[in-house]
């Protein structure tokens, strides 16, 4: 099997990761890309099973994503939320009318006994997504954000509290009993992947829950496919989301070097390539000293061409090794 025919595995959280996943999907043959998606953000809300990162992936890959909002579906409306407000209901988590259909559909299928993986595959099919989108696990893993004085479930921290509480750490409830996605593990065993791309997602709440699934990061490390990580921090800023704020609160330097240290300390030997932005080129030497190959390019993805370009860059790194 030549590298060109083999599959690519991407690890992704929500918005930031989905951008690169879209670029990868554009560059690869239909069905060649597998994305292993964080489900630590999943939660049950008003009787619905909500999988925010999976939905972001599916909406992005199907072209349904709301580019202005940065989440949810294009052309979304909010009739249910407005009516719920009149009823004095819980409206902190904004459920769009179109988005609601996804939650209803998923909840219904899960109640009928399907697995989250099967439901996700079914959703992808219905939405015309040819990329294989896998939940990181079938078991419930729930990210908890430790803040001064209280532990918040991820969505309470992220949406209800708008990431305002100061963070002191994270835990992933249920992770020790969770098994990594079976399809992905089987493909790893079969050496089906020519490379693994860790998308520029939040290290603490998007990528860590995936990598800390029992057996997963060691399986990635011990697999011949090179692991390429794209830094989510560019010029000291997170392109999207609370990663930079979290790093500052945890006392970690808010730089690509801080990100690299995080990964190299927790997952020694995992990363082969660490991709940083041109603006962070001066950090290359220090990152290199951690034992990873540093690759420098423009990593900011403003449009579809940017995404495809960064995707090609990461794919070439994988092929070169």
């Amino acid at each position: 099997m030549s590298a060109a025919q083999r599959s690519i595995l991407a690890l992704s959280g929500g918005v930031g990761g989905a951008k690169l996943a879209l670029g990868l999907a554009d560059e690869l043959a239909p069905g060649q890309l597998h994305v292993l998606v964080n489900t630590g953000d999943d939660f049950e809300h008003m009787g619905l099973h909500i999988s925010p990162d999976i939905d972001t992936l599916l909406y992005t890959l199907s072209g349904m994503a709301n580019e202005e909002l940065g989440w949810g579906q294009a052309g979304e409306t909010w009739q249910t939320m407005e009516a719920l407000e009149r009823l004095g209901g819980e409206t902190w988590f904004r459920l769009g009318d179109k988005d609601m259909a996804t939650h209803l559909w998923r909840t219904r299928q899960l109640q009928q006994g399907k697995s989250l993986g099967e439901v996700t595959t079914g959703l992808a099919q219905q939405l015309g997504v040819q990329t294989h989108v896998h939940p990181m696990t079938e078991e419930p893993v729930r990210t908890t954000v430790h803040c001064a004085g209280e532990n918040l479930s991820f969505q309470h921290y992220f949406v209800r509290e708008r990431c305002e509480p100061k963070v002191s750490g994270f835990s992933f409830e249920g992770i020790s009993a969770a098994r990594p996605n079976r399809n992905t593990m089987r493909l790893l065993q079969d050496n089906a992947f020519s490379s693994v791309v860790i998308c520029p997602s939040n290290p603490f709440v998007s990528v860590d829950p995936i990598l800390q699934l029992p057996g997963l990061w060691l399986a990635l490390r011990d697999n011949p496919a090179p692991v390429v990580l794209v830094s989510p921090i560019v010029a000291g800023l997170a392109i999207k989301g609370p990663a930079a704020k979290m790093m500052a609160e945890l006392g970690v330097p808010v730089t690509a070097l801080g990100v690299a240290r995080h990964y190299c300390a927790r997952y020694p030997g995992l990363l082969d390539y660490f991709v940083i932005d041109d603006s962070d080129a001066t950090l290359a030497d220090d990152i290199g000293k951690l034992g990873v190959e540093v690759a420098v390019t423009s990593t900011v993805m403003k449009n579809r061409a940017d995404k495809a370009r960064l995707a090609r860059f990461t794919l070439h790194l994988g092929e070169a090794s």
Copy 2:
């Protein structure tokens, strides 16, 4: 306590009953009307607890009802249903975007341990409804429509199959273990009602499930408050819904007399007054022979004034006795 200060109890299903309930509410002081509502149509759909008749009452009494559709809310939109259609989801039961909020709110509150009665009271408060709207029972009672060769749950018969299958009978699963609404039973014991109005609802699937709750119809019969029933069949037609079609299929004459026989046979001694439309005046003698007082008036409610007029008529009958 004078009759004018005492409460009125109405028994109601959905649309037809809600019309007279609105008329009664308009004629009475705030809080003077209690409506005991059929919940045999309730069902669980896509994880949501749906109470169609209660919602019809609440939307009608709050002025939110969709007059054109005859069900649901005014200004309703269907974004969720359209998105669900794209997903190949179940769309036979049309859940409007505004209506969805009611189902989410109710489901959430039930999951938190509230009773259906408490949830209904809460909804009424949020929607500014001053009428006391009571589910007929807290226990699940589910109407089953017996058709040639199969038994259909009510919503499958009514919505999915559009009332097309030929009906041979009905059963109300769970009814023998169901207790009638406690508030209503207490008010009956306290002789708090000056009269009881059975709205022009479907006898088989709206009123029978209420009256067949253990102890209820006997409590109504043995209570001094007169019971006034308004015929849902006018000139051989049902104003709304499948009542006429059901009667024909059951071999019952599709007339107000057929309705009267149904009630007098099943609930002997219950009815004091039987209200029929002017167009059915020739049936008065035969109905009278069943042992009920027949009152003739215009019973077709096309507008709010019609509703109030018919409400006054039924109230005067109650006061006269």
